[in-house]
Every structure is written in C-alpha cells, then in structure tokens.
C-alpha cells in the first residue's frame, strides 16, 4: 500500500501536479473511478491541481464522474477549461447540465445569427421578431447563464481546438452583439405603454467594433435613434434613451448570476456630457463641426452591433467619409503628435513593467499606430480600411506601407500578447491587463500556451522577446518604410510609393518631404558600415526629430554631422550604443538652431551628450585655469586666442545642451554663461599682458590693470546673446611714466577685445565698454585716479545706478578691490538716496518708457523695455539698493534676484510683490534665452506667432504655443502693477 501510494504520488508529480500528496487525497474522493484514467487527462491541463479540484466539486454537485470519465472528449474539454479558468469551472459546477455536452461542441464557430437566437430564446424572447421583447422577470439571470454557457463553448474552441486569436476575438464580439440585443429585449419590457415608437441602432466601437474583443472588457457603444416615419423626434429620442440605458443596465448590473460587463457609451459625441442617444443627422452635425482627431480614429472601428440594422448601416455610411478625410483636417499633424505622446505618458508608474496594454510597446500602442497609418493612407487607398487591427496590419504590409518582415513580426508579437492577455483574463473572468506575479498563475498561463518544460521561465523569456519587438513599433511602422521608399529593394517586394512617403512625412510634421527623402537616400545608400548603422538608427531618429518643432532642420543637421564625422569610429559607436546620446542629439537638432550651429561647427561636441556629468557646467576656477594653461601652451597670441575661443564654444554648447535637455535652471544657465565669459576674459588678458611685457623695454608691464564687469555681466545675469559689458581700469606702477603706462593699458584693452571679437569659426564675444564714464566719447581706459576725479566732479544718479552691478572679474585683484572701494559710496550712498536724485531717477525711467521702445514695437512683448519686463523689475530693485544698501548690507550684491530676495528678507518688499517681480523677470529671461536657442539670434521682442513662436514655446515647455504669450502677458501685467506702486510710489 505504502509502496503503491508512493509511486502514485511520484506519477502525479511527473504528470505536472503541483501538490501530489494533496492530489492523491483528492483522487480518493472520486470513488468509482480508477485514478489512472484521470491522471493523464488532468496532467494535460494547464493547472492539473485546479482541474482536479473542479472535478471534485463537480462530483459533489452530483455529476457522476465515472460516466464523465467514460466520455473522453467531454472529460478532456472539462479539465482543459477548468485547468485554465477557475471562473468557468465554477459556472459549470453551478450549472452542471452543460457538462455532458462539452464533448459535442463543434470546432467551427456558430454564426452570429445563431448566437443571437440562442441568447434571445434563453431569455424568452422570439429571435424572429423585428423587435424582440421578453417579459420574463428572470431574464437578467437567464441572460447571464446563457452568455456564460456560450462563453464556455468559445473557451473550448480556443483551448481544446486551438482556434486562432482572430477567430476567438470575433466570436467574443458576436457573443457581445447577441447579449446587447438580448439587453434591448429586456429593456423593451420596461417601456411605458404609451412610449413613442423609435428606431434604435447600437453601434459597437473599440475592440468590439473591430471584432477583436477580449474575454472580459468594457463594450464600447454609440446609440443612434430615429423616430418612425411621421413620428415626433423629441419623444422618440426619449424612448430611445430609456431603451439605451435599460440595455446598459441589463448587461452591467450585478445579479445573483453576476454581471456581463460594463457597457461604455463615452465615445459618443461630447463624451459623457453628451446626450446618450442622438439622431443620425445630429451625429453627422457633430462630426462636421466639433469632433477632434481622436474621435475620427475611434470611428474607424464603428460597426452596427444590435438593434435596427438598417439604421446602423446608414450610420456607418454617413460617418465613414469623415474618417477617411480626417487626415486633411486642420491640426491633424499636431493632434497626432500629441496623441502619440499621450499614449506614452499614460503608463501608470506602479505596474508599468507588468502592463500588457498601456505604455510604449503595449497593445494599445500597436493598435494606435496601425490606426494612425490607416488614417494617413486610407484616404487614397481603400485596401487599408479594415476595422480589425490584424487585418489592417496585414493590408498595410501587403501593399507596402509597412515592411513585410516587420509587419509579420509585429503580427506575431501582437497575437502572442493578446493571447497572453486572454489567458490572464480567463482565470477569474476579470478585466485586467496586468501580468500576475504569482508562480502558480504564471505556471498555469505558461502551460496553457504550451510552454511545458519550464513554463514560468519560458513564458517570461517569450514575453520579453515579443515585448522588445513591439517596443520598436514606431520605428517599424512609421519610419522604416520611409527608408524603403528610397532604397533599392529586391524586385517584387512591395515598397512605399514616393507619394505615400510624402503623405506620411507630412503627417509626421516634415514640411519639406522631398528634401527629407533626399537626405534619407544620401544617408542610407551604400554598403559602408556608416550607412548600415544609419539605416538602423534613422527610423528611431526620424521619430525623435518629429517630436520637436523643426524636423526638417534636424534631418539636415544630422546629415551634415554625418558627412563631417563620417566614419569616425567613436561616433558610429555612439550612434550604435548610446541611444540616450542619440536621443539628446535629436532633440537639440530639432529644437535649437543655436546649439545645432555650435555642434555642427565642431561635431565632436556630441560626445558631451553621453554622460550626465558632462552636462554639468564647469566651475569658473577650472575654466580659468584651463584658459590660462592654454595661453601657456601657445606661444603665438593668435593660436592662444583661438584655443580660448574654442573652450568658450565648447562650454556654450555644454550649457545650451544642458538647458535644452532640462538639466539646467534659468539662473544656473546665466551663472554658467557668466563664468565662461570671465574665463575668456582672463585668458585673453593673459595674452595681452604677455604682449605688453614683451613690448616693454624692461620686460615689465608698467601698470597694474583690471577689468570690471558691468551690466548684465556684472550681475551674473548673462544670456546666450549678451555682450560682455566692461570697464577697464589701470594704475601706473610707482615711478612709471604715466603716458607709457596709459599706452600700455590701452594696448592691452584693445588686444583683449580684438582676440575675443575678431571674426573666426568660433562665435565672437562682444566686449562692450560703452558704460564707461562719458560713454564712447570718453577714454577707453582710465587710471584709478582719473575715475576718482571723474566721479567726484560729475557723478549723476544714473551713473551711480550703472555702478550697482560693477564687479571686478580679471586682472590685478588689489586694483579691482581699490576700484570697488572707490565706487561703494557712490552706488550705496550713506544716508540713502537724496530726494532730488530719487525724483530724477523716476523721471528718467518715465521718459525712457515713452522714448526708448523701438517704433512699432508691441510694448507688451518687449522683454527688455516693455510693460513689466526686465528693466521695469531691475529699476525697482536698483532704486531700493541705492536707497537702502548703505544701511542693509545684504543688498550689496550685483545680482538682481539676490538683491530682490535680500530686500524681501529685510522687509523692504512684500513677499508676494517679490514673487510677482521675480516670476516676471525670470520668465522674460527664460524667453529671451529660448529665443536665442531656437533661432541663433538675440531679440528683445517675443515672436507673436508662427514657427518662431512655436520653437520658443517648445523650448519653454508651453503647448499650445499661444499659451506662452498668455503666461507672459499675465506675469508681466502683474509685475507692472507692482512696479508702478513700488517705483513711482
């Protein structure tokens, strides 16, 4: 006995039972059946233990297992279904009458009519009536039982006969249609006797419309209603609405037999706010006037499902022209871009890695991508107009819109993922798209998909493999065929026609499809390693380019990069391996003319994009020492200057790239640009000092020399297009001849400017000394004593104001400190600002406001001098500094925002006023910077429309672009109110 049982449990283990001891005890509970007759069939089930438990439950429900075991097909069907679906097994246990018939279920699907007849008869309605109706009070329960019986039959065809996914999905949709009709029959019974007659058609949408339904899913519908000829429309619609909501209840309400599924009518015009039923004309009116692109995409799947057939067909005839002209509507390209991004944004964080449906590479993404291609090309090619994902995919690849191999791989992956989804849902008949985590579940599902060796591992591996295929969906479906359009292919292989390629590029946002195709041809033709790598990478790049404002420029830029770097091994490696760097490059090329120009001037800058650490601005100290050692390395002044300027170019690219990639705040970018400027000046001055020493008879420079930063440079508020405002000061060495010393100083100042400003391949740094005493009329360089004498004699409030941002940056530190000491009492006058100076400043500002703005410029869009712009905010802060800095030492800073913050802490400015001012100032600065990044040029005016506005808004993160203007106007309007109060008092 012991011996025998040991061998039985061994056999059970070998046959795949998870818990042989338990199984053995259960088999004991099935008297009258030889265990051996059950073990083989049970072992074939996906979950033998679960199948066995169901068998025991069936026995307890009174079914003679001996008889069942004798009917081999019935036993096989039962254990197969029960081993995969606990819910269906429970249904069979509760309604065991169906069990003996399981073996006689046919392998071919019943017709939709037959299914409809079965469900209607089951609830006591006559399927041959034009409008079947049932008055059976048990109808809702009967419907649920009959529906599940039919579901068991479908599951048998799926699991036992291995019906393909397409067939299963179609069967489930037919069954849903029949249930909707049955729901209508139930709803009709509830109509009041005097209800106005109406015609009502139920249109299936979504997966049901596409006849590719899941085992459990919401059924999406739209209702169309019409009065009967001569009837009253309002009253008919009222009846229709009652019918529709009655039908939805009949399907979704929970009864002792559970519920079928939710009927979701949210895809109707105006969504959940819209009327539940509408007439055909009202539907058409809506689609003519109001509908948006995604609604047309949804209509692709519309199909009459239940109710009045004729009306349903009329609806489809009326709406399908809209679907096929959707691609011509205004804003289609933008909508598509937004919808694509939305798919990717929708992944819920928590379960993202176990999602089959949402997110990049999810089922939704495949369906979505296929539908988009249908919308783009279906207008001119009627062969693409199927409402079923797999059929449409097949048609797309058959007629050359998608590569044949890619199409086939995707179809396989899609089938696998959908089947996987089905098997997950079957277990409990729950609507879920999450891959379960438990070993038992995974094992069952794996075995049901015929992974028998190591089900869990094999299933996971297959899922990963197919998931990888699908994740590259956009590149496969959208972009790779574009390459085929320009490639030489084997004769006989269908390919995208040039016209279709134009259509597609246009839909993706390329404005010059012809040029784009030319670049693609140039980039991909040939047998070089580079062409091969580019053929792989371009489909991805094309998508990234299309995500930004200027895909055409990006493609052209990439072609130039590629021509330049050619077959440099590290570049090819970067393209091949570092997809993050490639993505960053794509974003820069599509968004920024400024950064693209820097990059194209020296394409090896792309290597900075690989490592996050390289996108951190370098410290001023390290930049200065790099500049100084460059000067040391180069004997010739010219080559030393070139070295400094190439450091500056590299740093500007680093900063702009980090800025564009969202890795740098506006303030940090300003400081970084300021630091690069200082390093350039320090280096250039070192060259000049060397020349001056060489020119001097004793080899010594006869004077001490310093550069004082002014304006935005002094405030560390520089933008990409800012000049470096400076003043030069010198102080002859004791005993030196003043004239000689001054000549040397002038020579040095000029040399610094020449080195940084002379035309060259690298961008020039404008060194502007116009803020010096007497402006352009005054001497370029003054001695410290001359500054002292000048300020003692002439100082006016506005000159003192300019000195607020003076800050020594290069040259002799002691001299710089002495200069600061000289100007401190001017800019921070002890005792505050005298009343008449205050009045003079206010007047000066008022006059500037009316005079300085260029003719015709819109004051609300002028970032510098406009309403609530930079200068408004800065004058407020500067007035406070001049008045109070002698008293409040924290105000003694050159930075606008630091001073504003200090004023807030000192209680000189109200917290909310300070917030309004700094918000406006930062936004104006950010927009100015974004303008330079986008166009490569500086401008004080925000573009009010068009491509420039779109690019600036993209960089600043506003969508739609006009929102940037709204935000800017709002911020500056508020700032202006504060300025008027604080500045003019």
């Amino acid at each position: 006995m012991t011996d025998r049982s040991a061998s039985l449990s061994g056999l059970l283990a070998r046959r795949g039972f998870d818990d042989p001891a338990w199984a053995e005890s259960q088999l004991q509970r099935l008297p009258g059946v030889e265990p051996a007759r059950l073990i083989e069939p049970l072992g074939a089930a996906a979950d033998p233990d679960q199948a066995l438990a169901s068998l025991v439950a069936l026995a307890e429900a009174g079914v003679d297992i001996g008889v069942l075991a004798a009917d081999e097909p019935a036993l096989h069907a039962f254990v197969t279904v029960a081993g995969t679906s606990r819910a269906l097994a429970e249904h069979l246990v509760r309604h065991p009458g169906l069990v003996p018939a399981l073996g006689r279920i046919e392998s071919t699907s019943p017709t939709p009519e037959a299914r409809r007849a079965v469900l209607l008869s089951a609830i006591g309605a006559n399927p041959h009536d034009v409008e079947p109706v049932t008055r059976n009070i048990e109808a809702m329960n009967l419907l649920r039982v009959a529906y599940r019986d039919e579901l068991v039959a479908t599951a048998v065809r799926d699991l036992v006969y291995g019906a393909p996914l397409d067939v299963v999905g179609a069967e489930l949709a037919d069954l849903a249609d029949a249930a909707l009709d049955a729901g209508l029959a139930i709803a009709r019974a509830d109509l009041p006797a005097d209800a106005e007659p109406c015609r009502l058609a139920v249109i299936a949408m979504g997966k049901c419309g596409g006849r590719e339904l899941n085992y459990v899913s919401d059924v999406d519908v739209i209702f169309v209603a019409e009065p009967i000829p001569g009837g009253d429309e309002g009253a008919a619609l009222k009846t229709a609405t009652r019918l529709a909501s009655g039908m939805m209840r009949a399907c979704s309400e929970s009864t002792p037999e559970g519920s079928l599924w939710q009927v979701d009518a949210a895809l109707r015009p105006e969504g959940k706010q819209g009327a539940l039923t509408r007439t055909l004309a009202s539907h058409v009116g809506y689609y003519e006037r109001w509908a948006s692109t995604w609604e047309f995409q949804a209509l692709l799947k519309a199909r009459p499902a239940a109710g009045d057939r004729e009306l349903g067909e009329a609806y489809i005839d009326a709406v399908s022209p809209f679907v096929w002209s959707a691609a011509d509507r205004d804003g289609f390209v933008n909508d598509v871009q937004r919808m694509r991004q939305r798919v990717e944004d929708h992944v819920p964080g928590k379960e993202a890695d176990r999602q089959l449906k949402l997110g990049r590479g999810g089922l939704r993404d495949v369906e979505f991508a296929v539908q988009l291609l249908q919308l783009v090309h279906g207008r001119s090619d009627v062969m693409l107009r199927s409402s079923t994902t797999l059929e449409a995919l097949e048609a797309l690849s058959l007629w050359g819109y998608v590569g044949r191999e890619d199409g086939a791989t995707l179809a396989t992956a899609y089938r696998f993922l959908r089947t996987f989804e089905h098997r997950i849902q079957l277990q409990d008949l729950k609507r879920t798209h999450i891959v379960p985590e438990s070993h038992v579940d995974l094992r069952r599902i794996g075995r049901s998909l015929d992974f028998r060796q190591d089900p869990v591992e094999e299933l996971s591996a297959e899922w990963r493999r197919q998931g990888r295929e699908v994740r590259r969906i956009h590149e496969k479906l959208f972009y790779r065929p574009l390459l085929n359009a320009v490639a030489r292919l084997d004769a006989g292989d269908a390919r995208l026609t040039t016209e279709a390629a134009h259509q597609r590029l246009t839909a993706l946002g390329y404005t010059d499809p012809e040029g784009a195709l030319r670049h693609l041809q140039a980039l991909t033709s040939g047998v070089s390693r580079r062409a091969a790598i580019q053929r792989t990478l371009l489909p991805v790049l094309l998508g990234w380019f299309a995500d930004g404002p200027d895909p055409d420029a990006a493609l052209l830029g990439f072609r130039r990069m590629s021509d330049d770097l050619g077959s440099t091994p590290w570049y090819l490696r970067l393209l091949r391996d570092e997809s993050l760097a490639a993505e960053r490059m794509a974003r820069i090329l599509t968004a920024s003319r400024f950064a693209s120009d820097l990059l194209l001037r020296s394409p090896d800058g792309v290597s900075l994009l690989v490592d996050d650490a390289d996108l951190q601005p370098r410290s001023r100290e390290s930049l200065e020492s790099e500049a100084l050692s460059a000067v040391l390395r180069h004997d010739s002044a010219e080559s030393a200057a070139a070295a400094i300027r190439s450091i500056r170019r590299r740093e500007l690219f680093r900063i702009s790239a980090a800025d564009l990639l969202g890795r740098l705040s506006t303030q940090d970018a300003m400081v970084a640009i300021t630091d690069v400027t200082t390093a350039s000046l320090v280096g250039a001055l070192q060259i000049a000092v060397r020349s001056a020493a060489a020119a001097s008879p004793d080899g010594r420079v006869p004077t001490r020399f310093a550069i004082i930063a002014m304006g935005r440079y002094g405030g560390q508020d520089m933008g990409y297009a800012s000049d470096a405002d400076v003043m030069f000061v010198h102080d002859p060495l004791p005993g030196a001849d003043e004239k000689v010393a001054t000549d040397a100083a002038i020579a040095m100042a000029n040399e610094v400017r020449r080195h940084l400003m002379a035309p060259s391949a690298d961008p020039p740094l404008e060194v502007d000394a116009d803020l010096r005493p007497e402006g352009r009329q005054g001497p370029l360089v003054r001695t410290l004593e001359s500054y002292r004498a000048y300020y003692e004699r002439w100082s006016s409030p506005w000159e003192a104001q300019a000195l607020l941002r003076a800050r020594p940056v290069a040259g002799d530190p002691d001299l710089g400190a002495a200069f600061q000491e000289l100007i401190d009492p001017l800019r921070w006058p002890p005792g505050g600002l005298p009343t008449d100076s205050l009045r003079e400043m206010r007047r000066l500002k008022a006059r500037m406001e009316s005079e300085r703005l260029p003719r015709g410029a819109d004051p609300t869009l002028h970032t510098k001098l406009g309403r609530g712009g930079l200068s408004d905010v800065e004058w407020v802060v500067q007035l406070l500094q001049m008045d109070k800095a002698a008293e409040v030492s924290t105000l003694r800073t050159t930075s606008t925002l630091d001073a504003l913050d200090a004023a807030r802490i000192a209680g000189l400015v109200d917290g909310s006023d300070a917030a309004v001012l700094s918000e406006a100032w930062l936004l104006a600065t950010r927009v100015r910077n974004a303008y330079v990044l986008a166009t490569g040029r500086g401008s004080d005016l925000i573009p009010s429309q068009g491509a420039d506005l779109a690019s600036v808004a993209f960089i600043c993160g506003f969508d739609p672009p006009a929102e940037l203007l709204e935000e800017y106007w709002r911020a500056t309007r508020r700032a202006r109110t504060v300025v008027e109060r604080l500045f003019y008092g």
Partner: protein
Amino acid sequence: MDKQTDFVLRTIEERDIRFVRLWFTDVLGTLKSVAVAPAELEGAFAEGLGFDGSAIEGFARVYESDMLAKPDPSTFAVLPWRSEAPGVARMFCDILMPDGSPSYADPRFVLKRALSRAADMGFTFYTHPEVEFYLLKGHPSEMSPEPVDHYGYFDNSPQSVGYDFRRQAITMLEAMGISVEFSHHEAGPGQQEIDLRYADALTTADNLMTFRTVVKEVAIEQNVYASFMPKPFRDSPGSGMHTHVSLFEGDRNAFYEAGAPYQLSKVARSFIAGLLEHAPEFTAVTNQWVNSYKRLNGGAEAPAMVCWGHNNSTALVRVPMYKPAKGNSTRVELRSIDSACNPYLAFAVMLAAGLKGIEEGYELPPGAEEDVWSLTAAERRALGIRPLPDTLNQAIGEMERSELVAETLGEHVFDFFLRNKRADWQDYRRQVTPWELERLLPTL
C-alpha cells in the same frame, strides 16, 4: 469636403447667390463683413480668407497684421432683406492666425474657450436675451432724436410703425432660422423689446449679431432708425439686454433642484454668488460705453445694486418665478447687461464669474426682497449691498484689478479692451455738455 460645405456650395448654386458675406465681430462688438464671390468660397473654406487684421479694432498691431477669416459652414443663411435681393448669403467666421491656429483676439474664440472650460466641468451654457432698442424718426446725425411713437409698455399699437416693424423683423429673423420668443412695445416711447429663444451661448451670440443687423435693415426699409444705444433719452428708460442664463448637465438643468428654496440647486446658488461677487469687475464688459452708466444710474428699475432677489425687478440678479413641472426652465436673469455690449465677451465673463462661484463654492448671500432703490445708502451698506461702478472710469479700474476677467478674455483682448476704454474715457472727460452750458453759462 464635408456635407455641410457641400450643402452651402449647392445652395449657392440653386438659389442663385451672387455674393456671400463673411461676418465676424471685432473686440468692441461691431459686426465686420467682407463679401466674396461664390467662386472664391471653396478656397475660403479650405484655407480661410486673408485680411489685414490691423485694420480691425483690437485684432492686431500693424506689424503682425496678416489674419485669416475662416467661414463656419454651419452658420450659412441667405439674407432675406429686400435691399440685398437677389441672392446674398452670410456665414460667421472664425479668425485664425496665418499658421491656422485660432486667434486669441477673436471674440468668438474667447467665448468658445469659456464654453470649453464649462464643458470640462460638465456644463453647457444656455442664454436667452431680451433685447431692447429704440425706433427713432429720421437719421441719427440729427442731434435731438425723436421717437416714432408715444406708446408705453405692452401697449397694443395697431397700424403703428413699431407694430409693422416688429412683425417684419420677426419674419426675417425666423427666415434666417432665429426663433423669437416674445415681442412687445417697451416702456419708453418708441422703445421695442424682442426676446430671442434660448439657445447655447455661442449660437445666441451669433444670433444677436444677426439680430442687430436685421433690426437696422428693417428700420431702413421702413424709413426709421433703430438704435441700441443704452440710454438715448434722459427721461425715458434705457435699453438693456436682460439675459436669462442656465447651465445644463447633459439634458438636465443643473440649476434645478426640486424642493430647494426657489427650486435653486447648489450649483445655481453658487453661480449667482459668483455673478454677484465679480459683477463690479466685469461691468466694463457688459456695459462698455460711457453712455451705459447713464442707464445704470437712471434710478427706478435700473439694476445698479449688487444683490439678488426672487422676482425683484430692482435687483442685479433676478430669479424668475418658478413654473411647476418645468424644472428645465429654472434660470437666473442678469439685468445690468445692455444691448450695445459685445455679446461674445459679455457671455464669456458672465459664465466665468458663475463658474468661479461654483468652483470655489461661494455662499449665496440672503436675497433682497424689497425695492433696493427705496433703501437709504446706509441701509444698503448695513445689508452688505454694494453698488456697481458709477462710471466707465470706475468700471475700468475694477476690471484692471480682475484676474478673472483677464483670464477669461485672454491677455490680448484684456489689454486692448482696457486701452480702448481708457481712451474713450479720456475723450469723454474733455466734453463740455449742454447741461453745463445751460446751468453755468447764464450765471457764471
């Protein structure tokens, strides 16, 4: 090409239409019209019709003047007046930027944006305006306008100009698909009232623009002059445009709640509270002319006090009598607004104020059940009843400080509107009025 466009092109052919007027409205509420030949219409449907936006009040500045007018085929109607025979039709346009995006300066877009904000909250906004205007003899250039008759409120006036006038105007409006609910002689001599049937706010605003044109056209045909000026006569009532509004959730009136006081739901109460709270801020929009304030300060039934009442015809907001079994007719009436407003902007700010009340859950203050004009200023203060702005200048000041109005109109329209109204006020301040001359010249 969609069906509606097809229909338009076919009708033009069948009815022998020679010109199509493309209509749009500037920021101040003046109707603009450009006529195109039918042959050019297809292009206008596809790409819009280019025009110089800087020539239109409030649309654009000189340097960015290119704009597009894109006809909305669903607003197509043949113009029924005789002077246009044979064959002229009109369509309203949306104003677009050259890149095809909507122009933030287009009042129609301002209203559409406000409506879509309501839609996001699940609401559709319905309005029903009662438009008052005067019929005058002769031409408006004559300095002392003279009414066509001396009948009064609800007077049956057979054989009078006003009677014929109303009949013909209504026939034309109905011919253009605009339903008229009600029409009668108003209180002032020569003053008429015509009530448009309630419809969604965008349709109503379009209808009002059509209405004003129709009324002016019919008047010309009958050799009289129709004026929507808010207060043409010192001693007769001004012309207002009391507007009944309601919010619907799907096909259910969201203002109605059976059994609540006055059957007003919480939504309705908060909506009214929103109107009251923000009324001073949006008065410059609903009452946009210097002359508008002459009407508001006219005493008697002028709704210049911020309060609400049930059937109180002196309150700013009135809740009309509830009709049993007509839950869907529950509505509130704003009475300050006048016939010379820009209906797109006015509806937008009213809606926004009400929605704000709903969003923030404003509490409705107690209603005023008595004639608020009979109270003393101190009594009103004690009851917490504020006055609306006294003058256009005050109204501008209130509006300037309003984030709600700025957000609703959009910054562009907000800025233009204020600048324009300030200039209006500056100009008005310089005037020496007959009143001053009469009073002062003889004595000083």
